[in-house]
Structures are given as C-alpha cells and as structure tokens.
C-alpha cells in the first residue's frame, strides 16, 4: 500500500514538475534574446551565402564528416540566398512574437539546414544548443506574452479574460532547463575522459591557440599552472553538480551564478563571444513568475515601459489591415519580399567579384623558391621545439611545479620542471647545475617517454652548494634547450647531507 502511495506521489511530483501552469515570461525572454544572439553570426554569413551554402560554392555538410554522404540538397546560389533571407526574417519575427509558432517552425528548420550545410565555418556546439532551443520555442507558447500575437489576441477578446496573463504548462521551459543539465553533465564526462584537462595541459594549449577572437587573459592564465589546475577542478565540480542544484530554491542561484561567471570568463580566456551569450540567454528559461515579479519591482523605477511600444505599434498596424487578409498571409508576403530582396542582394554583392571586375579575379602568384621550400621541406623538429617551457621553483601541486622562483635559501630543494610538446619521441633529458663560470657541479638525466607531458628534477642545495649564483641547464639529446638562473641566499656553509645530490 505504502509502495503504491510512494509511486503515486512520484508520478504526481513529475506531473507537477512538467505540467504546473505559469505565465511563460521566462520563455518569452528566451524568445526575445536567443534569436538575436544566434542571428549575429548568421548575419555575418549573409554576405557569403553563395560561397558557404550553395552548389555554386564549397559547403561541407556535417553528414559528410561522419561518412553519411550529402544528406541535404545543395541549392543554386539564388535559391540559397532567398531561403537564407527567409530564415533571418522568420527568426526576427520570432523575436517580436509575430506569428510566433510559424516563425520559429520556419526559422528553426532553416537555421538547422544552413548550419548542417557548413560544418566547417558555421556549425558549432553553440549552434546545436540554439537549434535545440529554437525547436522547443517553436512548440511552446512563448508568444503568449510580451508579443505582437499576445497584443492582437488581447485586443480581439476586448479586454475580457485575456487581460490576465495566459498560464500554460511549464514543460517547454523544463525541456530547456533539462537540456542545459545534460549539456553540463555531458561536457563534464568529456573532461573526466581527458586526464590532461586536470593537469592543465589541455587548457594551456587551448588558451594559446588563436582560433577564436583575442583572449589576453587566457594567454596569461596559460602560463600559470596552479590557476589552470584549480579552475579545471572547479569547472568539473560545477558541471557535475549543476543538475542536482539548479532545481533547488537556493542551489539554483549558485548553479546559475557560477554558470554566468564561467561563460563570461570564456569570453576573456578563450575569445569566445557567441557561445557564452547563447548559454546565458537560455538561462532566462529558469526564471519563474516569482522571479519576474521580483525583477519588475527592482526595475520599476527605470521606466522601461517603452520596451513594449514596438509590439503595440506593430499590432496596431496589423489591426488596420483589410479584414479579408489573414495575418499569416501578411507574414508570407513579407517573407517573399525578403526572399526576393536577398536574391537581389546576393546578385549585387557579387561574392566572387566576377561582375565587378568584368572577369574572374586572378589567382595570386607565389614566389617559386618559397613554394618549393614549402612543398619539399623535410626539416626535422628542433630539439627546443619539443619543449613548451622550463621553470624552476619550490612548490608542487598535483605533481606539477606550482611556483616560479629565482632565489632560494641554503638547504632548500630546487625543483626544475620541463613541459613537453607532444607528439615527441622517447627522449633522454638532462638537468645540469652550473656555477656562474659555467663549471658543471651536478648532472642528472632521465628517460622521458613519448607519453610524458612533463618531467621533474629535484636538487637538494644543502649537499654541495654555497651561497652564490647558479644556472640550471636543460639538455635534450645532448643539446642545450634552455637555462634558468637562481641565487642561493645565506651566510655560510650549510651542513651536508649524506643522501644523493640529484634525484628525479
């Protein structure tokens, strides 16, 4: 009996979770913000539709990368340009909530189509996230509030019950929330499967890659292993706990707050601009009626009522249409005008410069010596290019050198670490202690196998050294790769220990 009761209570909790009714303010905010962000990169690509998405260019379909062939039709340039314009138009209509469902159904389908056509320069994981959310918006009632549709509906019902905010089941917002829980949990699994993420190597190399926009803070972080290692653990803990916190009253502030900080940090550390805003805009789906009421009170003094004027104005205009013209007809007619305009724009843009130049542009010539050098080059990797860095310090964190020092007290242990650039062969690496006159004091060597990403040497200064200036020299295959100076401080001769002088 008790089992039956608990099952029933579980079902009712699940039902309450998905089918409780609320005014869809959170979804309406996602509807207004997400497409705007998703449209930024798509608008940039409007000038290259023919090149990126048409049979007259060089699209690379996502399905081809997975060996599934060309699943999607590649249209002639004019048609692709027209459809691309319709996509922009539909998503923009979605933002204002004009024929919301039709707009998102059309916009989402075309957004996914164009993204899948160019897997190299358009499709990324942020477009996947945006695609999910656009589809969810298409099947939701996100246009029920704060939209042209809502204003028209309210006026059509002449004030009656429609004057109250519409209340609808919350499951579309829940799907967006669950999507984000899955995204973070899944990316935590990816990180767990990458040991180099926790030891800092993966992030270091990402941070010094110039594949995205400038990332000055990331470049500085890349040279600080403790920051990399600690932030990697914090990230994974946050990602794993996100699904368990985000639906709790207080936990959600921590989960979402950390999420906003994390995504904003990726702007400065990785040079990502669209990804963080796509994600943070989707966080608006976590806002419930209570949050919106609280925000309204907070923003009450800012006089933001003008924000609603465009939709009211648009609704007033649409109301003046002839009675026999349906709203969907206006949408289709406007879409057609945009499509024709896009075809015209494609023609005038003349992406390949053939009409503007009167003939195809000339292929740039190349210096013969330079071309032959590039084609025939067989240069082996320099010894020093097998190493990322070489440092000395005194503190170890997670098995790696955590600080950099050039001054040590007599008796301290000097820890030297070299970081290697994979792929490298098995190496014999030596660490040499020299005095100011380059006289060798001690030498230690070790094999560094091809799977190793760093190697450490520890040197006990108490054994031989007197206060003074020294060098730690890194050698690989007998060649000097790098050297670091250090100064041993102190007054007199320290007591010598009986142990080995150099240890790996």
């Amino acid at each position: 009996m008790s089992m039956k009761k608990s099952v029933k209570s579980l079902f009712s909790a699940v039902e309450q979770f998905f089918f409780a009714e609320e005014a869809p303010y959170g979804l309406a905010l996602v509807r207004m913000c997400l497409p705007v962000v998703a449209l930024i990169p798509m608008c940039r690509r409007f000038f290259r539709v023919r090149e990126l998405y048409s049979a007259d260019g060089c699209p690379q379909q996502l399905a081809e990368l997975f060996g599934d062939g060309r699943l999607l039709p590649e249209l002639p340039g004019e048609l692709a340009a027209g459809l691309y314009g319709v996509m922009l138009f539909a998503l923009l209509c979605g933002v204002f909530g004009f024929r919301t469902r039709l707009s998102f159904l059309t916009g989402a389908a075309l957004y996914i189509y164009f993204n899948m056509l160019d897997a190299i320069g358009t499709m990324t994981k942020y477009s996947v996230i945006a695609a999910h959310v656009l589809v969810i918006l298409a099947i939701s009632d996100c246009g029920a509030v704060w939209s042209v549709d809502a204003v028209l509906k309210r006026r059509a019902s002449r004030g009656g019950m429609a004057a109250l905010p519409v209340r609808v089941p919350v499951w579309p917002a829940r799907l967006i929330q669950i999507l984000f829980a899955a995204i973070y949990f899944g990316s935590a699994i990816t990180k767990v499967q990458t040991p180099e993420f926790f030891s800092g190597e993966q992030m270091r190399y990402w941070l010094v890659s110039n594949w995205n926009w400038p990332n000055p803070i990331g470049e500085m972080m890349a040279l600080s292993p403790p920051v990399l290692m600690s932030s990697s653990y914090i990230t994974v803990v946050w990602e794993v706990t996100f699904p368990f916190l985000v639906w709790r009253r207080l936990g959600r502030f921590a989960a979402l707050g950390l999420g906003v900080v994390f995504h904003l940090m990726t702007i400065f550390s990785l040079g990502l601009w669209i990804f963080p805003f796509i994600c943070t805009m989707c966080y608006l789906a976590f806002l419930n009626e209570g949050d919106i009421a609280a925000i309204r009170v907070l923003l009450g003094r800012l006089r933001l009522a003008w924000l609603g004027h465009p939709r009211v104005l648009a609704a007033t205009l649409f109301e003046r249409r002839p009675v026999m013209v349906p709203l969907a007809g206006i949408w289709v007619a406007a879409g057609l005008v945009v499509a024709v305009g896009s075809v015209e724009a494609d023609y005038r843009l003349d992406v390949y410069g053939i009409r503007g130049n009167g003939a195809p542009l000339a292929l740039p010539a190349m210096d013969t010596a330079e071309a032959r050098q590039m084609i025939n080059s067989q240069q082996p990797l320099r010894e020093k290019d097998k190493f990322f860095s070489f440092d000395i310090g005194s503190m170890v964190m997670a098995g790696q050198l955590a600080n950099r020092r050039q001054q040590f007290e007599a008796g301290d242990v000097v820890i030297a670490q070299c970081n290697l650039n994979p792929p490298h062969e098995d190496l014999w690496v030596e660490c040499v202690i020299q005095d100011e006159e380059d006289r060798v004091i001690d030498v230690a060597g070790q094999f560094v196998t091809r799977d190793q990403l760093f190697a450490k040497f520890s040197y006990m200064t108490a054994d031989k050294l007197v206060p003074g200036r020294y060098w730690v020299v890194l050698k690989s295959s007998g060649q000097e790769v790098s050297r670091r100076p250090f100064e041993l401080m102190g007054d007199g001769l320290p007591e010598a220990s009986s142990g080995g002088v150099l240890a790996n």
Partner: protein, 222 residues
C-alpha cells in the same frame, strides 16, 4: 466532454514528446560516456556534448599551392577574401580532417583566372603553440629569444578539379610514426613480419570450387 478529451490528448502528446526528448538526451550522454559508436554519427552530433575534447601542442595552417605546366606557382586562396568564421583564421584552416580541401580547390579555381593548373599541393604549416604568446608575455615568462620556426608537411596532392592524387599522413601522425620507427628492435621485427595478402590460399574459394577442404590441393592454387 470534447474539450476534456482534447486536453487529455494534448497532455498525452506533450508527455510523449517529453519522454522522447529525455531519451534522446540520455542516449547522447550514455553513448558519449561509454563511447558507443552509434552516438558518433550526424544525429549524435546534436546530443553529444564533447566540447574541447581534443587538443594539440602545435598550431597549424593549411596552404594550397597550385602549379601550372610552366612550373609557376600560385596560392589557391580566395582573391575575393577568405571568410574567417570565428576569429582571424581562414575558414579552410578549421577543417582538421582535410575533407574540405577538394571542394575548396575546385571552388577557388573555378571562380578565378589562371593558366591551366597541373596539380595542387596541400601543405600543412606547423609551429609550437608557445610562439602564439604575445611578445610582452614572452619576455616576462620565457628567457629565450622568440625565434619561431615553421615546419611544412606535404599533406596531399590534388588535381585541378580537387581529385586526390596522393595523400600523406598528417604531420602529427607522421611524428608519432617516426618516433615508433626510431626503435631498431621494432623496425627489425616489422621488417621480418610484413603483412601481406595471400593470393595462393583462399579457404572460401577452396570450399566453393571443391565443396570440401579435402581437395587435392587443399585450397592452394596459383
């Protein structure tokens, strides 16, 4: 009554949709976690969250060099300006698996003026990523002079229509292979045990022709 039925139907429809969506997301997570190949396809890309799964210590750019019959060389780069999708790097460089190369060659050569092209060389340029660090950071962190050197690797040779004529290993793979082949013991063993296709003995053919293995030549034939 009709309205009640309609509401129930909507509720069931929504439930079905929610269930399917949750199953799809779970399939992506489980498939990715357990590395099940069925999650590694076009649909899987939409439900697998493998952001930043790979990394490399060397940066690379791809160069396309066309050669005409007179031995002149041309850079196969869009004279109308290459599209840079995510920063300041040309689109073609984001193609890590070199899938785009044939279409890129065909597109540029089709829309440009040039003498007949004999072949197009696809060359990888590689350099260690530490040289991407700006000069001011380099001087404060690294003590050595910043003498960046690029390495080049002939990745492929294509015809003017983009058709692949010759393909070589990626620089990263080549480095790995070189380091393994550097082992004399392995080299000797590999030389002594070269894989080959047996053209003399084919069990299936033997069964088909003789209907049993007890044939006179035992499946061996010339």
């Amino acid at each position: 009554m009709e309205g009640w039925c309609c509401m129930k139907l909507r509720r069931w429809g929504a439930g079905l949709l929610i269930g399917s969506y949750l199953l799809l997301l779970s399939w992506g997570i489980v498939g990715h976690a357990l590395k099940i190949p069925s999650a590694g396809n076009t649909l899987g890309y939409f439900v697998v969250w493998d952001m930043f799964c790979g990394w490399q210590a060397f940066d690379n750019r791809t160069h396309f060099i066309a050669e005409d019959s007179a031995g002149n060389y041309y850079r196969v780069r869009e004279p109308w300006g290459a599209f840079q999708p995510f920063g300041h790097v040309d689109r073609v460089n984001y193609d890590v698996s070199n899938n785009l190369a044939p279409r890129h060659i065909r597109n540029v050569l089709t829309h440009t003026d040039h003498p007949p092209i004999d072949r197009v060389y696809v060359v990888q340029e590689i350099w260690p990523k530490q040289f991407n660090v700006p000069d001011r950071l380099w001087s404060s962190y690294f003590h050595e002079p910043k003498d960046q050197q690029s390495y080049f690797n002939l990745r492929a040779i294509c015809a003017a229509d983009g058709t692949l004529i010759e393909s070589n290993p990626d620089w990263y793979v080549a480095q790995g292979l070189k380091s393994i082949a550097d082992n004399p013991r392995l080299r000797t063993q590999a030389q002594g045990a070269s894989p080959f296709y047996n053209t003399f003995f084919n069990p299936r053919m033997a069964v088909e022709t003789n209907s049993s293995f007890s044939s006179s030549d035992g499946g061996l034939s010339n």
